[in-house]
């Protein structure tokens, strides 16, 4: 069975790629991922805010109370060097590359046009074979126009592309009025791939404390419908790689997304719930299904049920919505 696939020019042994998460913070986990069959791994993200926040917070804490009192002009020793900013991350990429044979894809997360994009080059230099650019932007300003926001995405991408020679994928949120157009513009701006979709973690309310609190919910299998739809639509409409992420829990999910047109499928929640070893199960079940259904390769099935290739292209569009609601009987 030929499970190979190509993602942004990278030849991968199969379409299973663990997506960016804290699982990849441990080198041991990366080894397990490789052993369990992962074709590549997207390393956890280097966050723009985290770098800025960390730097400011450390500065505030080290300044606090200093030069205020005769007996205590400072409260901490002053080390020669502090590992601030991307140093840790880059070191981790280097270690990861040394520890495993599968390709390491770096991940950079931010939302502004700032100096942080230069970290892309450092991630490349540290050994990442590709970069996932996660532009997680929440527009809460009622005065800001969608056009402006879309331009920011494109500018960030261009700035990053100018820094690196490795392929760059953009991880997007689904909240674009003109998703297809946006995908096309990103392609034109130099994206080598699109990762669909970013999961926006929504806040929760703590009823006892009467506070709004952050709360990470793992994805459910239902979440894959959104990437499934858009990968199905975009397959063929854009000429760049498509990666599916969100709600991929088992072999069926993987197969569906590949049929919709995904080059790779990215898993995260399932690995948190079932362990990294779950990759082997998915891989085995995929293979079995393909054998049972007499498929020869991933290449063969890729995009076979995309909007362009399916018998019912309307199923991806508004008509499907209407039909679904009308036929639903609880």
């Amino acid at each position: 069975m030929d499970l190979t696939t190509t993602y942004m020019g990278l030849k991968l042994k199969n379409p299973l790629v663990p997506s960016a998460s804290t699982l990849s913070e441990k080198i041991d986990n990366l080894r397990k991922m490789e052993d369990s069959g992962a074709a590549a791994v997207v390393c956890y993200s280097l966050f723009e805010e985290e770098i800025i926040q960390e730097s400011r917070e450390l500065n505030d804490r080290l300044n606090q109370g200093t030069e205020s009192f005769f007996e205590a002009t400072s409260y901490f020793p002053e080390p020669d060097k502090l590992l601030i900013g991307p140093d840790f991350y880059l070191e981790h990429i280097r270690k990861a590359k040394a520890a495993v044979g599968i390709p390491i894809i770096g991940s950079l997360n931010g939302c502004s046009e700032g100096g942080w994009v230069q970290y892309a080059k450092l991630i490349q230099d540290a050994g990442a074979v590709a970069l996932e650019l996660n532009i997680y932007f929440m527009s809460t300003d009622a005065a800001s126009q969608s056009e402006q926001i879309e331009r920011v995405y494109l500018e960030i991408l261009k700035a990053v592309k100018a820094q690196v020679t490795i392929p760059v994928a953009v991880k997007l949120s689904p909240f674009f009025s003109a998703m297809a157009s946006m995908a096309k513009r990103l392609e034109q701006a130099g994206a080598d791939g699109l990762v669909l979709f970013n999961r926006f973690y929504q806040p929760d309310i703590d009823l006892e404390a009467l506070e709004v609190v952050p709360n990470v919910l793992l994805s459910t299998p239902q979440a894959l419908r959104l990437p499934l739809r858009w990968i199905g639509i975009l397959n063929g409409r854009v000429g760049i790689s498509l990666a599916a992420t969100s709600g991929i829990h088992n072999a069926d999910d993987v197969l569906k997304l590949i049929m919709a047109g995904a080059d790779v499928t990215m898993l995260c929640s399932a690995l948190f719930q079932k362990g990294v070893g779950h990759l082997t199960t998915v891989l085995n079940e995929m293979t079995r299904w393909m054998e049972e259904h007499e498929y020869e390769s991933i290449k063969q099935m890729k995009g076979s049920l995309s909007q362009r290739s399916s018998a019912n292209p309307a199923a991806f569009e508004r008509a499907n919505y209407m039909k679904a609601l009308r036929t639903f009987r609880g």
Partner: protein, 1185 residues
Amino acid sequence: MSKKQVTIDGNEAVGIVAHKTNEVIAIYPITPSSNMGEHADEKSANGEKNLWGIVPLVQEMQSEAGAAGAVHGALQTGALTTTFTASQGLLLMIPNMFKIAGELTATVFHIAARSVAAHALSIFGDHSDVMAVRSTGWAQLASASVQETMDNALIAQAATLESRVPFIHFFDGFRTSHEVSKIEELEESVMRDMLPDDLILAHRARAMSPDRPVLRGSAQNPDVFFQSREACNPYYIACPDIVQKTMDKFAGLTGRHYHLFDYVGAPDADRLVVIMGSGADIAHEAVEYLVARGEKVGVLKVRLYRPFSIEHFVDALPKSVKIIAAMDRTKEPGAPGDPLYMDVVNAFVESNGSGPHPKVIGGRYGLSSKEFTAAMVKGIFDEMAKPQPKTHFTVGIVDDVTHSSIDYDPEFSTEPDDVVRAMFFGLGSDGTVSANKNSIKIIAEGTPNYGQGYFVYDSKKAGTLTVSHLRFGPRPIRSSYLISQANFAACHQFVFMEKYDVLKNLVEGGTFLLNAPYGPDEVWDKIPRSAQEQIMRKKIKFYVIDAYDVGRKTNMGVRINTIMQTCFFAISGVLPREEAIAAIKESIVHTYGKRGEEVVKMNFNAVDQALANMYEVKYPCNASSEISMRRPVPEEAPEFVQKLTAMIIAGRGDELPVSAFPVDGTYPTGTTQWERRNIAQDIPVWNSDICIQCGKCAMVCPHASIRIKVYDSRLLDQAPATFKSVNAKDKEFAGQKYTIQIAPEDCTGCGVCVDVCPARSKTETKIKALNMALQLPLREPESENWEFFKRIPEVDRSKVRTNLVRQAQLLQPLFEFSGACAGCGETPYLKLMTQLFGDRAVCANATGCSSIYGGNLPTTPYAMNADGRGPTWNNSLFEDAAEFGLGFRLSIDTQAGFAQQLVKNLESVLGTELVEGLLNAVQKDEADIYAQRERVKILKQKLQGMQTSEARQLLAIADMLVKKSVWIIGGDGWAYDIGFGGLDHVIASGKNVNLLVLDTEVYSNTGGQASKSTPRGAVAKFASGGKQAGKKDLGLIAMSYGNVYVASVAFGAKDEHTLRAFLEAEAYDGPSLIIAYSHCIAHGINMETALEEQKAAVDSGHWPLYRYNPQLAAEGKNPMQLDSRPPKIPVKDYCYRETRFKMLTKTKPEEAKRLMELAQQDVDNRRSLYEYLAGRPFSAEGTQQ
């Protein structure tokens, strides 16, 4: 020849040499010498090697006595070893110093000389410590400047190795230890040349070794001890020549030639000052000035004070001298003269017998860093010129009691015109001092100019005034005194304009820079009239910037240092503007680069914005302001406060004469209430509609600025219009009114009360029952409300259920408005103690944060209630608080026993009912105490008229019949380290004392050095590489006695638990130990939300809550009650909230990981042990079944 110039302070200069020339360094923190140990620790943690290529081992000890012992041991086994200390620290080393000298062991102790505590503690500089160790047999070498500290550190090291006499190398605490100055750094090659291998090898050869065994430390008897003691004489006789030879060699290598006594002045001088330490350089400056004007004066600088070489001394003097003033920076009450004076007199007697010699007078100056200036030196010379000069005089103070002081003209100045003199008035938190330290480096290291910086802070830890004194000039600067005539002054805080005369020292035509929330067109009318008048009169160039606005816009927040520094360079002209800006930016990269690019970016932005927002103020030629300077204390303050305290608050303490002071260090309590510091930008405002009356806000308030009262509604008739009041919710107070009132001028604005407030608006949850609002608009109405609130009677203590936080917080705090940090984690415990027991508390306080905010002048926080009762407080030493407190208990118990005896003896005249009442009073609760006080009142009335000895004796001690509560207070440095031996003995004594350990897990007061309480993996000074060992379990040690009440509490995690522990501890008739988690600025946390740290500490199991009550054991129950649940979060989730732990992940990530894993094991093991202790079966006898 070495020519590398550096700009550093005296401590750093010594630290460099000491680290390069030693192999073992034993350290212990004590101000102002701690920084030397810190430099050594950091260097070793960074892997810096000494001259011989090894990284010196730096070992923190439990006390200076311990450090001296470790040094002694390391020396005896052949390592080059040193230590650093001051004041009481040096005194603790005395026994070992005798031994080290007796064994002729080569070493140098570097001493930042500091006052020894007498009528009061002082951290400041004088020679009372080094003079107190004269008899130990150590050589004493004095440095007068930062350059000399570096040079003499090396000279002493070389001389001790050759002479075998151990050396004290001393310099003036703060004035030299903390003065930043441009000096020539000694190169390693010079150090190597000064320390030839032969000297090192000889030291090694004297070491103890089982391969060539010897015995030292024998015990000797009357037959031989004396002769044996005299056997060392040749070494002391040879020592001065060896030192001079070493100084000569040093001169050959560096060009700086020192002598045992250095003379400066007219060759034919008739008047001479003999002096050592920084005063010598000041005298040098004054003498040069006077000689240039034809005066026949001179100064003899003493460098080698011990062994005192009479021969060298006499040789150094010009033969023309007729009168000498020997100046001592110490006081020996009762002695015929102070030490240097006595030595000078003796030198003439010994060298010249009864023959003619100059007249010698003695003078005392500069105790506790009292300013010593060129003007005073001139005053001394003027005094010597009088026909009958005073001897044993004082200079720099007004002694109107024994009239020892001499006059001088304070206007006399020797400062040359080509020296730029700049003064900066800042707030501790605004970064002014940091900026100025940078500026000195920029100028001194970037230009041929010399630079000097000295920094003065006030005595508070929050809202501190800092005054920076900077000088720049073409020659080395000897002016080791504060600037009195400045060409430039900057006021970084607008509120200071009303409080301090910041323009006083500015010369005519000088430049003044003001940070004000007003533009160039409005600021003129916003400053006090007196400031306007000075500006006009002195034709001052006046600039203004709204630095806080620039700070906000550039994300700098309240750190306006870079902004103000940029303005200084832009208008002072010390450097060409463009060059200065480039240098500032370079310095920013150097200083902040390692904290991340973002921080550098922010600062760069601040530099650019500062220039764009500074304006020159074109002022009119008339003073139009209606604003006047604020009174330091209100008119209604008591006389003592008006006369003495107010002067100190106003910064005029130097003007107070001797007669203004108590003779024995006794001060009234409750004086913080008069200071009204107004340091908060924002203060809490009570929303009475939302409040649930839980009392948590008052419980957590570190400054007792939030008070609660319940009272009769009729009192509201006189209430101010904005005074808030609601019905009391507690059934015990049904029908009464309830008010939470903020003391607006005393609040520090820390915000902890708002953070803890659990009540939220139903319609807008961001609104709580307390919300922060700008202080300025609230100051006046809330002050009026506060004054009214104070007049409402306190709650009837007998009606309060003290075991409920919401009711206990109705009790009047007798600890208020201390100078502790905003958001302090210690003070809420002290306040609670005073609320519960303050009216009968006797406090013994170990030195540390709690003794500084508890007892540092000008004002002190322990207060009195309306009956005039309140805590009485004293600080003995750092190490002996437990013993000191036990002494209180023994004394009180003895007197109470004697009083009871006398009551019995006088039964016939006092009446049986009263006698039985007095003797059988249980005094368990507030009602009992009240009843006993009433009985004592009757007793006193009856005794008043009686003249018998017994009656008079009883009257004097009748108050002892009311139960007294002894509290022994200190931090973890005291309890875990230096005072542990005493603490252990006191809890073993079984006596009824309460020990409160305010555990910040670090030496907070001296700037964050590790203690044995510091948790594993935390970074602290003296543990730069992360604390290796786990935290000592002090509670478990105390529990092992079985009869000690022990509680581990964290008020931010469970306030009711803390309250219960305090009540039980005090009620227990035996020793009680409360270990109280105290969050601290030294943890690197957000102080506003510090209670979250306390919760996380408990939730992670790092800080278990428990009570071990021996009373329960007596009842057959298990005394151990584990009050916190099993850990909910891993310990790292607590630790990595705090910079002290996080820092190691930024310096040594692998080590951080390793230590954190061990820290988790510590927590797990401790929890298992405690669960076992709390769960084990227990019999009535207290034995384990």
